[in-house]
């Protein structure tokens, strides 16, 4: 058996790849569910019902999808330009912390809501950018591999958050729990549905996905960023300023992750704690891969993993299967997606 590169990876195949990958991942996880003593079909039925079958479940699923769309965009936009930003988690936390810090400024609390929200969102995005520009600077100046630096900065960022919320930003009214001072009411995102946690952040995330898609496919910058990622030497021969392009890419990518953190604080939690993110930053990488780095695909991929996570909770209550099955399924889907991407580009010959 050997692999031959396909001349024209067909569009149909490229669209089918993620579906095939998800199906394969569900099959694999199904085996595990069966081993745990439940009927896989019943389990998946309960997952779907849990995530989509009720108003509450549905709104929870969308709430969950919101940060995932943004961290997915962060990874997709960077990977397209071959900037390996593994630091989404850290940028998420820095974005969240920036909002909390901004909220502590008395003047912000006094601003009208739209303005306060806008300023806080910007603060979060900028914080995420800064955390990615640091390792990018090291790469451009000294050739330091950003996979290592962005990954390690995640731990630095989370520990820094921990330091701040146990110290300078600690909420004195939280009965000693390590959490930050809550954001002022003027910076809280409006709800989209009554008596649920679903908030306007979802709209922001979807708008961002469309905006990123437009930037990538329609602008000079998007074309240059792709060129720089695919063949840096040819790109610079064609006059693409590699360093500058990567800096803008890093701003977009870090900005999206920071925005995710900011929105999670402003829409759901209201304050920062170290359990703010069930690894949204890392899940973003999986989501970007599932979406084949397509910004619009990111929305679909984020919805898929949100369904798995939210549905698995209720499924686990009904069947007594650990809800970790959601993590397993999503992680499996990354592996199957990598295989599927490979198969869209190569054909198998005996």
């Amino acid at each position: 058996m050997r692999f031959e590169r396909r001349d024209h990876p067909s569009r149909g195949l490229t669209l089918l790849a993620p579906l095939g990958a998800i199906l394969a991942a569900l099959l694999g996880a199904g085996v595990l569910i069966a081993i745990a003593g439940a009927n896989p079909l019943e389990a998946y039925g309960l997952i779907l019902k849990g995530a989509l079958g009720s108003r509450l479940g549905f709104s929870e699923m969308l709430t969950r999808a919101t940060p995932l769309i943004l961290t997915g965009l962060a990874a997709a936009v960077a990977f397209r330009a071959r900037l390996w930003n593994i630091g989404g988690e850290g940028q998420f936390y820095m974005g969240a912390l920036a909002v909390a810090a901004f909220g502590m400024i008395p003047a912000i609390a006094g601003l009208p809501a739209p303005l306060a929200i806008l300023l806080c969102l910007i603060a979060g995005a900028v914080a995420g950018m800064v955390l990615l520009l640091l390792p990018l600077g090291l790469r451009l100046k000294f050739g330091v591999d950003e996979v290592v630096t962005t990954l390690l900065l995640n731990f630095v960022a989370v520990l820094f958050v921990s330091l701040m919320i146990e110290g300078a930003m600690k909420d004195p009214l939280a009965f000693g729990w390590p959490q930050s001072v809550p954001v002022p009411d003027s910076a809280v995102l409006p709800k989209l549905m009554e008596r649920t946690r679903l908030h306007a952040g979802l709209v922001i995330a979807v708008v961002m996905a469309v905006a990123v898609w437009w930037i990538q496919s329609r602008t000079v910058f998007g074309m240059r960023a792709r060129a720089a990622g695919l063949n840096p030497r040819a790109a610079s021969f064609a006059g693409v300023p590699l360093g500058r392009t990567l800096i803008v890419v890093a701003c977009l990518s870090g900005g999206m992750a920071g925005l995710a953190g900011a929105i999670e604080v402003m829409g759901v939690k209201g304050y920062v704690s170290t359990d703010l993110s069930p690894s949204y930053g890392y899940s973003g990488i999986i989501i970007a891969m599932l979406a084949n780095l397509n910004p619009l695909g990111v929305i679909a991929a984020a919805l898929f993993s949100a369904v798995m996570f939210v549905g698995a909770d209720s499924m686990s209550r009904a069947l007594g299967i650990p809800s970790y099955i959601a993590d397993v399924t999503v992680a499996l889907s990354l592996l199957t997606m990598l295989v599927a991407i490979f198969l869209t580009q190569y054909r198998i010959r005996k």
Partner: protein
Amino acid sequence: MTRVLELDGITKRFGAVTANEDVSLHLDRGEIVALLGENGAGKTTLMSILFGHYTADEGTVKVEGAELPPGKSRAAIKAGVGMVHQHFALAPNLTVLDNVMTGTESLWKLRSDRRAGRKRLVELSERFGLKVDPDARVSELSVGECQRVEILKALYNDARILILDEPTAVLTAQEAEGLFATLKDMAAKGLSLIFISHKLGEVMSASDRVVVLRRGKVVAERRTSETSKEELAELMVGRAVKRPERPPATPGAVLLEAVDLSLGGRGGASLKSVNFRLHANETLGVIGVSGNGQTTLAGVVSGLHAPDGGALLVEGHEVDRFDVPHAIASGIGRIPEDRNAEGSIGDMATWENAVLERIWAPEFSRGGVVKRAAARAETQGIIDTYDVRGATVDGRIRLLSGGNMQKLILGRVLNAGPKILVAAQPSRGLDEGAIAGVHERLLEARGRGAGVLLISEDLDEVMALSDRICAIVNGRLSPAIPAEKANSQLLGLMMAGDWSAAEQIEAGTARGTADAL
């Protein structure tokens, strides 16, 4: 003569494409056979079948009378077939000895017998005149030396039949000559060789017999002594191909001038006080062995890097910003040395490749937004005008053949109407038909008033296209001699750094011009 190799009725299809159709070929002991054909004629596929990389759909391969099992490289090696690939398969971080010995010993052996290995390697290298230091790291070797290691690797595996895939593609003229002398010596010592080539000159000088492949079929077989370059060219291409002739032209005003242009850098990458003038309606040829600074020279003129010293003048104005958009805007068209690594981005669409270097221009973008319709229309225009076969506006460019890729690059450059054209190795790796096309375009550009700076290693090309010729040696540019006074001997001297004759000629020409005025 004993027959050592026999391919019988080989057919191989890839999907709808038939790469080889009923190909039969034989090789006798001590013989050198050239497998001649254009790019895509099926030469490499055929040799890959022989070597077991591919399985033939039909047909058999016999080595010394015994049939080889299909699709098993190991069996081919065991039967005494050695292959030297066009792209070397060497580990750069290992020594020559390590590379040669890799795969020759059983993995179950606890110790590798390096002393015996070294002895055998030295013996082989002496016997066949393939000089190489067993302890040198491959990364430190020149391309020619790497090729010697590849050949030694095959010989180390007891190869009695050696296949060389485009062995001279990466070699300089001198290295190629050395290689063919070695091959002839090897044949005299009883080895049998097949080399794949599309270069007529080397086929004529180095082979005993020529097999011509066209579109996957054997179209002719000749004894080399009974054929001619012209006949082979026609057999290979399928029709008579003639490279265009350079019509006379009167040079106009100075378009590009370098004054003491210098750029530091290690070894051959530097420029040392380079001076030249390029006129309108003129082609200035720069020849030289690769690695003598020609890449840097092309890079400076193309706006890729700024010089440390001296000046570059475009139409009398000193260039103060060395970047690509600035170079293009001032009328410089650039044909890169390496089509695939520099000239194109394989996984982007044809239209994106066609306009990327001018995407900042108002024709192709406004306010940072790409004018897709205009860009795609431009690309369709290039495809039609320059006859880029196999290209579609939205298709990925990776799939184009070298010749068609070069047509697209020529098209995107010439469509901008450059006054100055920098053409670096414009026909490297192209087949005869494509070369003629490229030459025609370059002459056309000169004909409509452009100045062409032609940087090439191919003496025939430089002599055919240039009005004046200079050599670049170790970062320095020789005096330019008029093409009428050039011959390969004189150019060889100039490339070797002996410029006395060239200086005399230049002085003579200058006096002649002064007299005429």
